[in-house]
């Protein structure tokens, strides 16, 4: 943890002590002014960069901003169309300010950290949908069930092509049934009844509330483990990828992270049944978070961990089955389908290019899965021997994102809340390193912008 502590008192006598005290006060004062100046600068840059992205994004007509109903029209007269170059400069400035602020977090009053994180979250909440059409898929699935009486686990949004949301769904996903858990789909059904703009604001509000809950629990978990809660809060809540991509796109990963942190909070309070229930319920939001449960079990070894998981799984599966039939509870099929997708930003694709291959082949998928299993088994063994299960879960989530052939910015946020409350600082360093590599890979338009 980066904390600036006062210099140790000097054991001097008389005039020497007086002189040393004056000199010390001067040095401390200069350093204090420098720290304050750096913090003010970092705060301004963080706010300005986020505002720039949101205000320019509100103009629309940008390859970075998905086609969207005008929900942030009141901002549209202020900025200019968001181009790759402006976005990347703003993102890099945001990251630099974030790193500076984190390095000085020991000098930051708690209230300032909280207010700044809240301000960044609110700025993005007030703006347009950023960088992804996923939220329109969520709304389409909700409207399929709530307004059209169709099962989103059997059909893609194409079946409601006359619905107003259809034209906003990403072209790759119009024929794809939902891959999300049944509890998430049920949560979104009421929003589907609100009309397109209402549903969009509902999704944004849901993401904001999930973010606030996740950040509050991250703070509590850090405090419980005698870590600096300011660092934990800021590292997650002001993370540029978290703010601009996850919250900006109103991604349901934030709801998954909320369930994850509920589980961790209960586990740290030794309420194992509740902890396991939260984790398994989270897996019925988005299956990935279910990865935590084996590590929790290997560490806690209580009947509550098993009973809570079984109870939650039975209830959620029953709800999913009653609402959507057998397809609604087949989480493995959805995971397998997504695992076959390939994105240009994934590390396996980069490695394939490094070896002169055009892309990822089926044999690579097998090797990646084998690597992932190896990491999981090693971390389970370590956890059995007393290693921090929170850190082990974080390593597993990080390994999933690194080995996934379908990598998106918000996937590399999964391990972050665990990393800031874990006892192994290497996890945090590795998570930041993976995020940095992802950002580096985005920077090509900065050097050769295609018009």
């Amino acid at each position: 943890m980066n904390q600036i502590s006062n210099p140790p008192p000097l054991a001097l006598e008389g005039a020497a002590a007086q002189g040393a005290t004056v000199s010390l006060a001067r040095v401390t004062g200069v350093r204090s002014r420098r720290v304050t100046g750096a913090l003010v600068l970092a705060t301004i840059v963080l706010l300005a960069a986020t505002l720039e992205i949101v205000i320019d994004g509100a103009v629309g007509h940008s390859p970075l901003i998905p086609k969207s109903p005008q929900i942030a029209g009141w901002l549209s007269g202020v900025g200019e169309r968001l181009g790759f170059r402006v976005f990347l400069i703003a993102l890099l400035a945001d990251i630099a300010a974030y790193a500076l602020f984190l390095s000085l977090i020991g000098s930051v009053p708690r209230r300032l950290a909280i207010v700044l994180v809240a301000a960044l979250n609110m700025i993005v909440f007030a703006g347009p949908i950023l960088f992804s059409t996923d939220v329109f898929s969520y709304i389409a699935y909700a409207r399929m069930g709530a307004s059209h009486g169709l099962n989103p686990y059997l059909h893609g949004p194409f079946t409601i092509h006359s619905d107003p949301v259809y034209k906003y769904v990403g072209s790759d996903w119009v024929r794809v049934p939902t891959a999300y858990g049944p509890i998430y789909t049920l949560i979104t059904y009421p929003l589907g009844l609100l009309g397109l703009a209402g549903a969009l604001w509902g999704m944004k509000l849901l993401a904001l509330a999930a973010s606030a809950g996740t950040l509050w629990l991250t703070w509590r978990c850090a405090a419980k483990r005698a870590l600096d809660p300011r660092f934990a809060l800021f590292a997650v809540g002001a993370n540029p990828l978290y703010v601009t991509y996850a919250l900006g796109g109103a991604h349901n990963d934030l709801i998954m992270l909320l369930f994850m942190m509920v589980g961790v909070t209960f586990a740290l309070q030794e309420r194992d049944a509740s902890a396991a229930s939260a984790i398994i319920a989270g897996a019925f939001i988005k299956a990935t978070v279910g990865v935590l449960w084996p590590f929790m079990l290997a560490s806690r070894r209580t009947l509550g961990t098993v009973g809570g998981a079984l109870g939650a799984a039975a209830l959620c599966a029953l709800a999913g089955y009653l609402a959507f039939g057998v397809h609604g509870v087949d989480l493995v099929a959805a995971l397998n389908r997504d695992a076959a997708l390939v994105s240009t930003d994934s590390f396996p694709t980069e490695i394939a290019h490094l070896f002169g291959k055009p892309g990822v082949f089926p044999v690579d998928h097998v090797m990646l899965k084998a690597g992932l299993v190896l990491v999981a088994v090693h971390m389970l063994w370590r956890t059995w021997r007393g290693y921090d299960w929170v850190a082990a879960s974080g390593w597993a989530l990080l390994a999933i994102s690194v080995t996934s052939t379908w990598l998106l910015a918000w996937y590399i946020l999964w391990p972050l809340p665990l990393a800031v409350v874990s006892r192994d600082r290497r996890l945090l360093i590795a998570t930041f390193a993976v995020q940095a590599l992802f950002v580096i890979h985005q920077t090509s338009p900065l050097f050769a912008p295609v018009s």
Partner: protein
């Protein structure tokens, strides 16, 4: 070496099975090995990332040249051009299509040029091309009027030159 304290969560387990509150203290070999592997993986990913970023920058430079070449040859300074890369053959051949007269993208007859070779003075070599009717996808069955290497390269079907669709009007050819 003493066994680390067990947690009090499961007093019913035998000692060897009881959960541990912390890891057994060791010589740190395992941690050192893990850290070394992590650093090596990190370096490997860094190399892969930088390599791919440079590759993307090269591709972008090529695409910029493609667009510039299309605008230079056709004499139209249109912004809305489509570029199709050869993702299957993994070659540097690209096909750039754009309207033959002003209008929304794809709303008029389009001329497509096949670009190959390196970028020289901001331009690429063009060895032929073909036309597409308005609002038609770039599929072999929709192409017509193949010329240059595109005719012999089978872009317009096996005969090389596909007849113009009768129902379509011609614009700006």
């Amino acid at each position: 070496m003493s066994r680390p304290a067990v947690t009090d969560a499961s007093p019913r387990w035998p000692a060897w099975l009881a959960p541990l509150a912390s890891e057994r203290p060791g010589r740190g070999d395992l941690r050192r090995a893990e850290t070394t592997i992590l650093v090596l993986i990190g370096l490997f990913l860094l190399v892969a990332t930088i390599n791919d970023t440079v590759r993307k920058i090269d591709t972008n430079h090529r695409l910029i040249a493609d667009l510039h070449t299309w605008r230079t040859i056709t004499g139209h300074d249109y912004r809305n051009l489509s570029v199709e890369q050869d993702l299957k053959g993994y070659s540097t051949r690209e096909i750039v299509c754009g309207n033959t007269r002003p209008g929304p993208p794809g709303e008029h007859v389009q001329i497509c040029l096949v670009m190959t070779g390196p970028v020289v003075h901001g331009l690429r070599s063009t060895h032929g091309g073909y036309y597409l009717p308005p609002r038609a996808q770039d599929l072999p069955r929709n192409r017509y009027g193949c010329f240059g290497a595109a005719a012999s390269g089978g872009f317009c079907g096996p005969t090389g030159v596909t007849a113009k669709p009768k129902s379509l009007s011609y614009e700006g050819e």
